[in-house]
Each structure stands twice: as C-alpha cells, then as structure tokens.
C-alpha cells in the first residue's frame, strides 16, 4: 500500500504546469485533490513517473459568471462548490450533487476537474456535466480548446484529455428563471459511489412541462442523458401519472451491464425509482416557487 517512486513538481503558474506536462507527457500526471489518484497510486494501479501538483494554482479555483454560463475552475473543491452562493443561485443542481460526494474530509480536498478527469461512471460531477450540457476548457502548451461534456467523457475512466493536457474550468448553463432541479442517488453505504444516480431539471409554463432534462449515472460506462425520453413527455401536466410514465420510460431506455452482484434488472429498477423521486421533488419545488 505504498506508492511507487516519482519525481515531484510544484509549478507556480498554469504555464509552468503545462510546460511540465508537455515535457513529460504520458509519464506525468497532474494531481489536484488526489482523492482518487492517490488511492490508485497507493494500490499501485497508477504509477506516474512525474507528479505535477496543481494545488498552488489558486486562480484555477475561481467560481464566476461568464455571460449566460457559470464557470467553475477545475481546482474548486467539492466543498467550495457545495457552499458557493453563486452556484446555489445559478446552478443549484451542482450544489445538490456536490454535497453527496464521498465524506466530509473528502469533499474538503477533492476537486471538480479531478472528478471529471477521473471519469468514474457513477460519480456525481460527470453526471451533472452530461445532464446540463457542461463545457470543459482544456489546455496544453500549444493551446486551449473547449469540449462538450458528451465529447469529453469517452468511456469508464476514459476522457478526451491528451497526455499533456489538463482541465482548466467547467462552464454550466445558468438555470433559467423558474427552472428547478433534483439529484437522487442510491448506494449501499453513505459516501460510496452510487449504484445508480439521477439528475433532473424541470421548468413549467402554465402548469405544463416546458422543459425537462434527465440524466442517469451508473447504468453505462458514461452517464446517460435521456433526451429521447424527456422530449416525449413535454406539454403535459406533471401529475403522479406523468411522473410514473416518465420513470417507466427511463427504465426502458437504459441498458445496464449485468453484474453478478448487481443484476441489470436491479439497476433498471433503481433508475425507475430514482427518476420518480427526482421528478416528484422537482414538481414539489415548482409548486413551492409558483
């Protein structure tokens, strides 16, 4: 349970970090909170020859409005996100999700960029990023690019990041006026990764569903956005029958892998239950704000 040897780098600027990544490429790994990378190093599942420590780059921890989007720096800790008044106002789904990550001490240290770069299929941040259509700003020495979450998350633990590239920031669309959201997850023990997690946003117009986003994590290598399901249920009044019908359709839309300890049927059932609970919570919030 001791990590392999590595050379440690502590850049004082983003440019310096990118230079280091350019020089060492596939042999280097950026480290932010280390809440996923260090366990992997301790278990020798990862053994980078060079570790580039991003923790001094405090400019990467900023949270700010950029036009119609909310931009959260890659180094923002889960606690910063969960307790930010700006995030609560403009992207409340992100607050609800960040509060459920790991444990108290883990949230103090783990970062948004780290969670996305790690790309666990059941993690909160990839699910929210997919559900809301987040965009990631990536940087390498030769330049920056902006990538949609759907093009960034390629498979389980696999992203579009090049070996010498890192996440700088993530931007989310600001919640529209009247839009409400809910996050629901199921795990066997508090703080574990979800078996299934669901994120939803809902907006009503004249008592009918004007917009609906549904995302499900834990049912595929990458969180799924159920646009085909959502678009089939617009224009209706969101009563109990509507919630049950959407939840059933969500269940049919996912095809989780069958696993000896977690059968596919169980994940499908969880999908239905959690979609129903998330939507019920959204409707409750809509009624409270109406």
């Amino acid at each position: 349970m001791k990590p392999a040897a590595f050379t440690y780098h502590r850049p004082a600027s983003v440019d310096e970090a990118l230079d280091l990544l350019a020089r060492h490429g596939g042999d280097a790994k950026p480290i932010a909170g280390g809440q996923s990378l260090v366990p992997m190093m301790n278990m020798r599942l990862a053994s980078p020859a060079h570790l580039v420590d991003l923790n001094d780059l405090s400019e990467l921890g900023r949270i700010r409005l950029q036009g119609e989007r909310l931009e959260v720096g890659a180094l923002a800790r889960h606690r910063d996100v969960a307790e930010s008044a700006l995030v609560r106002e403009h992207c409340p789904l992100l607050v609800q999700a960040a509060r459920t990550i790991g444990h108290y001490a883990i949230r103090e240290r783990g970062t948004l960029g780290g969670s996305l770069a790690h790309a666990d299929p059941a993690a909160q941040h990839p699910l929210v990023a997919m559900t809301l259509g987040a965009q990631l700003t990536l940087a390498r020495r030769s330049g920056r690019r902006v990538v949609d979450a759907g093009d960034f998350l390629l498979s389980a633990m696999t992203t579009a990041l090049a070996p010498d590239e890192m996440v700088l920031a993530v931007s989310y669309p600001r919640a529209a006026a009247g839009e409400v959201s809910a996050f629901r997850m199921f795990n066997q023990r508090h703080g574990d990764f979800a078996i299934v997690a669901v994120a939803a946003t809902l907006a009503l117009a004249g008592g009918r569903v004007a917009s609906l986003r549904l995302g499900v994590g834990g049912v595929a290598p990458v969180p799924q956005r159920l646009d085909a399901v959502a678009s089939g249920f617009l224009g209706q009044a969101p009563g109990a029958d509507w919630i049950a019908a959407v939840a059933r359709a969500a269940r049919e839309a996912v095809s989780p892998e069958d696993h000896p300890r977690v059968p596919a049927a169980y994940r499908k059932e969880l999908t239905e239950t959690l979609v129903a609970r998330a939507l019920a919570r959204c409707v409750e919030k809509s009624e409270a704000t109406a």
């Binding site: 001791k2 990590p3 590595f6 260090v38 366990p39 444990h103 108290y104």
Partner: protein, 161 residues
C-alpha cells in the same frame, strides 16, 4: 531512491527530515516527525483513522504526500488536549464511552474539531452524516454520536459564558 529535504509545520513547530516524494503524510508524521497519534488504517482514504487538519480543514493524511504539505499548517491529535487536560471532545468521548480500542479515535477527534467549528449546533443527522467518513469497528457509533453532541453543547455553553 532519491530523498529530499522536507520541512513540515506541525502543531506550530517546524520539523525537517529527508524523505522521498512518495512518502505519504501519514507515514511522515509517524516515522519522521515521531507523532504516532495519527493512525494508519486502510491507506486509501476510506477509514478516516489518519485524518489531520491542514490549514484548519480535515484531510486524509494517507492521500497526501508529505512534500505537498510544505508551507501549510498541519495539526495532529497531539495538539489537541493533554492526558491531564483533555479537549472538550476528548472528555466527552471518555465520559460517553465513545471508544473501546481507540484506533479510530484520533481521526474522529480531528474530523470533529473542524466539524464543530463549522457546525456549533449540529443535529444528530448532521453528526451521523459527517461520521460516515470515520470507521469504528468496536463500539458502534451511538456512543460516539452522543459524545460529539455532548461536546457541542459544552462548547456552546462555554462560548456563551
């Protein structure tokens, strides 16, 4: 394996030692700083036994490398109370029988040093949520929860006097 000089600020004093970058903070505290109050359990961030404070915030010592902590203030359980004068939380753990073998206790003490500053008047549910990050295999959690709530009450009463 090449070592380098590392200076850590622990419990208000500087400690210098030579270690390779791969040295975990948890091991450096125990082996190089001689502070064995920080316990090492799972070494992958699950059990919480090695929790210390870094710049006042709780952090898993097994998920940081000592070299990363240069320039930061580390506090370990050794800075919290003495055998003659326990901290309010340590005293409450003692009175409520909140420990048996004591292995998990330093991590719980350090976690809740920070938690009770963040949440001076926590609900039982909040305490239980925060305690999910610290595994205890002896007592069950009821007495630990009781102790934390008792300490919170005493700290509030102390603060209002």
């Amino acid at each position: 394996m090449s070592t380098q000089r590392i200076t850590l600020t622990v419990n208000g004093g500087n400690i210098e030692f030579d270690a390779p970058p791969r040295k975990l903070l948890s091991d450096a505290l125990r082996e190089d700083c001689g502070l064995t109050g920080t316990h090492v359990g799972c070494e992958h961030g699950v059990c919480g036994a090695c929790t210390v404070l870094v710049d006042g915030r709780p952090q898993r010592a097994c998920l940081s490398f000592a070299v990363q902590l240069e320039g930061h203030e580390i506090e370990t359980v050794e800075a919290t109370g003495t055998p003659q004068q326990l901290s309010p939380l340590q005293q409450a753990l003692h009175e409520c029988h909140g420990l048996q073998c004591g292995f998990c206790t330093p991590g719980i003490v350090m976690t809740f040093e920070a938690f009770l500053k963040d949440n001076p008047d926590p609900s039982e549910a909040q305490v239980r949520e925060a305690l999910t990050g610290n595994l205890c295999r002896c007592t069950g959690y009821q007495n630990i929860v009781d102790a934390i709530l008792l300490a919170a009450r005493r700290l509030r009463e102390g603060a209002s006097q």
